[in-house]
Symmetry: C2
Amino acid sequence: MSYKSTIKDVAFDAGVSIKTVSRVINNEPAVAKATKTLVLKSIKKLQFKPNKDAQGLRSKKSFLIGLLYDNPNKYYLSDVQSGSLKACSETNYNLVLQECKNNSANLITKVINFINLANLNGVILTPPLSDNNKLIQAIETLRIPISFIAPPNKSFEIWSSATDSDAAYALTNKIIAMGHSNIAIIKGHKDHSASKLRYQGFCKSLEEHGIKLNPTNELQGNFSFESGYKLADQVLKKKNRPTAIFCSNDSMAAGVIKYCYQKGISIPDQLSVTGFDDSMIAQEIWPSISTVRQPVEKMAEHAAKSLIAKIGGDDSKQNLTKTFKSELILRESLGKAPS
Amino acid sequence: MSYKSTIKDVAFDAGVSIKTVSRVINNEPAVAKATKTLVLKSIKKLQFKPNKDAQGLRSKKSFLIGLLYDNPNKYYLSDVQSGSLKACSETNYNLVLQECKNNSANLITKVINFINLANLNGVILTPPLSDNNKLIQAIETLRIPISFIAPPNKSFEIWSSATDSDAAYALTNKIIAMGHSNIAIIKGHKDHSASKLRYQGFCKSLEEHGIKLNPTNELQGNFSFESGYKLADQVLKKKNRPTAIFCSNDSMAAGVIKYCYQKGISIPDQLSVTGFDDSMIAQEIWPSISTVRQPVEKMAEHAAKSLIAKIGGDDSKQNLTKTFKSELILRESLGKAPS
DNA sequence: CTGAAAGCGCTTACAG
DNA sequence: CTGAAAGCGCTTACAG
């Protein structure tokens, strides 16, 4: 590897002290303009990059933020990552990953150890970890900022949120507009706050249209393909079976679709199905799934950016909380109610 | 945050010098057993974790390895990550991610800058980056080890490889055993060496069975759903259309399946389709796709483990190269040839 | 088998 | 607006 220049080299080249170079690196105000220009020139000339370990050792900062997740959906994760990475690449910070099992007994120990060992300066929490109060409290004792990818919560300082309830409401309105009134819902995993919000939006739409939700049309899924398949079997065997099923994510919708193929139920002619998340399968399956797309990558970018701003103490220009609008994606799986 | 103990605290508690503690931390051999026990006890008692920045600053190591990828497939990426993370979590190392565009003009500059800035001690390269010779050469000038997730290559010291050719061969044998002889292939993205290997395995099987590949049955895809759909249109419109299509990945197989639905071609009765990768869609689509599963997570774990061993100079006990067997997954999309 | 000293490349705390 | 000194928590290089 080519020789790496240090702060000393720059100081010598610019004819100033290392402290002045340090001031320039850290954008401290008390530097004469001419001096700054001089130093900047030397930095460029010598291709100087501050050594992070040295900076970290002295200043107690690691310039590392953690992304904690319980692999909810690989597409979701990938988008969260891309967004976080994008925010990091504009700064000095790096992203470190940790997969966690939300329900494992040693979750908290493991997370705390990880944060301490890697000396993380802040963490991003994704669902369902962002709904796990015990975990949150444990991390808070470490006195590092937490950025939540989660519904708005006024007891949190930093969050990036989607509009799950509103989107579910809008999608359900669409279903009803197609003439459906006997509508079932397959709810999402109980540990995810998004499940509840999607359910609420769904119910709100029904209520406003004067449609009563039949209790046998309310099904508890867990976001898995298998749960969608199994619950389809349960609800479609009923005498007065629904003409539309609102699935709380795309995998469960895919499960319903598979069941229908096997039983010869034609989609959307005999049954309409909707999903949520706009994961890849929603596009690649046939019939393609009507669903909701959330700007996950943008949300994650905001989450990382806010976290870094907070760590740097420079959070004046950055809104630490933001809600991101969702988009309805209408595809083949939603059609008119059979007459 | 609770007080963090340092090497000094441990030394004082154990009644030895900090150098001896350092020896214990780093598993250096020249320590008396009794001393070691004593120190280990103090370490545990004080919950001492060595400060990485200090270690890094002095030893010039960052304990950071990079995972470079050109988001080929989100599922693939997620598995690679999980495996790498697993290997890291057993060590002092952390994983840092970087998404790269294999075809972007400034790829090399970007990667080199990233490695230097983050002070990475080694990198893992995934396809198609692991097939990009210019990039590889540029990284080599940095004198850090590279771990390849790629086909065996004797000019590389560290690699983790799948058996793309063998698996494609076995899958094609299976197709032929079902009575097919008019078989088309949709090839993968040209920049991926796996595409060529899968094609080779396919051809080898055909040859051994005395089947000649009709040139119009050889189609150039790019791993995308859209390319599968488009090429299905091209090849299935032919007069003497194939009874089976070997798709070089699952997304392209999904594209073929969608086309068939729309044209009323029944799978597998009128057409058999196979995929590659066993991505989630292979399971969740209907008909589910016969495909090849590669132990991507295990491969990535090996890749990271080998890289870390190499960095630590302790690569004696670790095989730096390994080939991982694939598994045939037979599902609904492959059936007997129509008579 | 063990330790005292020096120093990695920065930032902190202080002085002027 | 600028700098000299000290020190972060380790490992290196050396000595015994």
